[in-house]
């Protein structure tokens, strides 16, 4: 009885460990020997992510089938005829495209039990379309960051296609572009060689969605890209304009600033306002100190010089309001506490 029990437990153990050896073992051999190679493209589908891979891009290919169970099937992947990956359930395969115009032939072979070997092939010709944009808003000189769009500011979107046809790079000015803002096509901005699109932004915090389709004249290559462009709030930052050193853009003055020199010149940088020139513009710069409006130099309205009292210590509340006329939502305020102390110097 003990022996029977032991044998039973042993068999159950083996079943748990290698179920396929008992149930699927025969059919596996049959599929390898008995079925002929099929090239049925309709039974499996091959998808790429990204859908239109550009040059030198990482691409993930995924195979799926409504006939075969890809999770239990042996799958073999080939690049230009060379085996790159194989194994049961290997339904995803990541590879890298070459340079523009370098053709890649991607093949996948499914070794199914019921339908034999199924093959699917895809020829990938890496072409690319990159979309860059820039906003017509203010950032200070020497600024290394990007000028961001604020409400009602102008934005220019530039399409940069890299299309190769018959081993020749196609000039971006010889491509046909169709531009859309949201759902609406812009017929004036679209057309042959129209690789730049200018528009006015919407409201703050929203995204403007810009779509561009770039195609060769004969339609052999076509790529569509959609990009969101966020609309930011304009803002003011204060910097110290030192008489000998110039404006210290390296360090913004935030909240409280203690000044030791006999006078302090504050320079205001109106980030992301639609101002091409800091002084020649229609924006108003209203400087207030402890609630009182100050007279400033109209030819240098972004700056204000404050003299330090000769004795004692104290502080000033300085406020600047900037309003850009013609741009309803382009306003900003900034407060700073300026502290002086003659006793501890």
């Amino acid at each position: 009885m003990k022996k029977i029990c032991f044998s039973f437990v042993f068999v159950v153990f083996l079943l748990l460990l290698y179920p396929s050896a008992f149930i699927f073992g025969q059919s596996g051999i049959e599929s390898l020997l008995g079925k002929s190679l099929q090239s049925s493209n309709s039974t499996i589908s091959l998808s790429l992510s990204p859908t239109n891979p550009g040059p030198n891009a990482d691409v993930t290919a995924k195979v799926s089938s409504f006939q075969a169970n890809v999770d239990t099937t042996n799958i073999i992947w080939y690049i230009n005829g060379q085996k790159k990956l194989s194994g049961v359930g290997k339904k995803n395969f990541t590879f890298r495209t070459g340079d523009v115009g370098d053709t890649i032939t991607l093949s996948v072979v499914l070794e199914t039990e019921a339908y034999g070997t199924i093959k699917k092939e895809l020829v990938i010709l890496p072409n690319s379309l990159e979309v860059l944009w820039e906003a017509d808003t203010y950032v200070p000189p020497f600024y290394k960051g990007k000028a961001l769009p604020s409400s009602q500011s102008s934005v220019r979107v530039i399409a940069m296609p890299r299309f190769v046809d018959q081993n020749a790079l196609i000039d971006a000015n010889s491509v046909v572009y169709v531009w859309k803002k949201g759902y609406f096509k812009d017929p004036d901005g679209s057309g042959f060689g129209r690789n730049a699109f200018v528009y006015k932004t919407g409201y703050t915090f929203n995204d403007d969605e810009i779509t561009v389709s770039a195609s060769t004249q004969n339609g052999s290559i076509s790529i569509t890209k959609k990009i969101p462009i966020h609309v930011y709030e304009p803002k003011i930052l204060f910097f110290e304009n030192k008489p000998l050193e110039s404006i210290r853009y390296e360090n913004a003055l935030v909240n409280v600033f203690t000044y030791a020199e006999s006078e302090l010149t504050l320079h205001a940088a109106p980030f992301f306002f639609s101002l091409s020139d800091l002084n020649n513009n229609t924006a108003s710069f209203v400087w207030k100190i402890d609630g009182k409006t100050l007279e400033t130099d109209p030819e240098n309205k972004a700056e204000f010089t404050l003299r330090k009292p000769e004795k004692g210590s104290g502080k000033y509340q300085l406020k600047l309001d900037v309003t850009n006329f013609g741009y309803d939502l382009q306003t900003a305020s900034k407060n700073i506490t300026l502290v002086y102390d003659n006793q501890n110097q």
Binding site: V100, L132, R156, I158, A196, L244, L278
Partner: protein, 437 residues
Amino acid sequence: MTKKQLYITVGIIAVVALGFLLASYLISRRAAESGVETTNPFANFFPFGKSEKIKTTDLGNTDNETAGEGTENINTEGGGGGFLVLRTVSQKPVAGLFSYIRSGKTYVEYIEKETGNVYEMKMEDMRPSRLSNSLITRVSEAYFGNDGGMVVLRYLKPKSDAITTFILDLSKITRGTLPEDNATTTASDNSPLPNGKFLASGIRDVKVSEDTKGLFYLTRTGDFTDRLSVGSVFDFQKNTSSDVFLSPFSEWLPVYFDGHTAILQTKASRNVPGFLYSFNIKTGDLQKIIGDISGLTALPSHDNQKIVYSESTRNGVTLHIYDRKDSSTKDFFLQTLPEKCVWKKDNASLYCAVPSSFPSGEYPDSWYQGISSFSDNIWEINAITGKTTSVFVPGSLTMKLLDMTNLTLSPSEDFLFFINKRDSSLWAFDLAGGWEE
């Protein structure tokens, strides 16, 4: 002493000794596991506590840990002329610097922001020597070219945002005439003023070539609707400029130039995908290297084969190195911006100033705008093996908080120079050794 008291005393000593042993073991084990260099206070007492001064961290260590407390300076011994490993070269604001070797000695030359004067300092004796009389004041940026024979000075016109770019010819100035006394010297008042020439007005950004013989610079033409970016090359030796690049997109930042290829980065903002392109001057071909990376900022190696770049995240940035040869990318746990790095000559490793923490903000924007400032430590990163090594923690040597920019290595890589963004002062770190205070 009774027997009972003796047992208690011996017991206490045994417990304390065991405690020391356990603490020492745990500290040494923790240091080994974390890979961060730590000082074990018991190291000299027990054999297993002894550790190397430099601990390395393998790639893939995801601990969000920068050079922390307890890290020590690398190489605190050796020559250095009796000066500290960390030295202030100029407390006055500096616009740019250049390091060179003369007669086997390391020198640094720099432009003072306030006066535009050129100063020279031999690192062996740390005495500054003024080489030129003032021509231009309130200089914002300075870039040395032609092996120090010329310097590009960039400054603002009064009450204006217009940038003026002036090239000062330093080839006729006398170098290496150090003073007899200890005082800071001045150039002779009778010495001729250096010559110079203005480059085009409104130059937005510039990059000196790797061999220092050329300058790539960008200007804009046309109004916003029809704007074009024009890239030009100034030849320091021929004293001529030629236009080489034209693009409808104009927010480029040149991050590398070798005379044949310019690497152009789209200007960065945290939530905007950034791109890096290679522009071939001969063929006119503009090709993407990497892209679709939020807040991308980048710094290519001297041979243009590796690129250290950062990507913006919710909490700051992440650091990566992209290898152009095999298109592979290494990720690093260190958080910093490539603007705070410098590649070594071997193109295999680099030094980076790594903030000890990222104040809340949006990066890189907050740092560019001067809203946030960092306090950095120096790390060495090996781009081949992925190992990171803590080199230097300034907090152990100075009370000043150092937000390092313009990192520059001396030709023999014995000194690492940097400008503190907080006050534009110029500093040097003696990589070959020095004396601690």
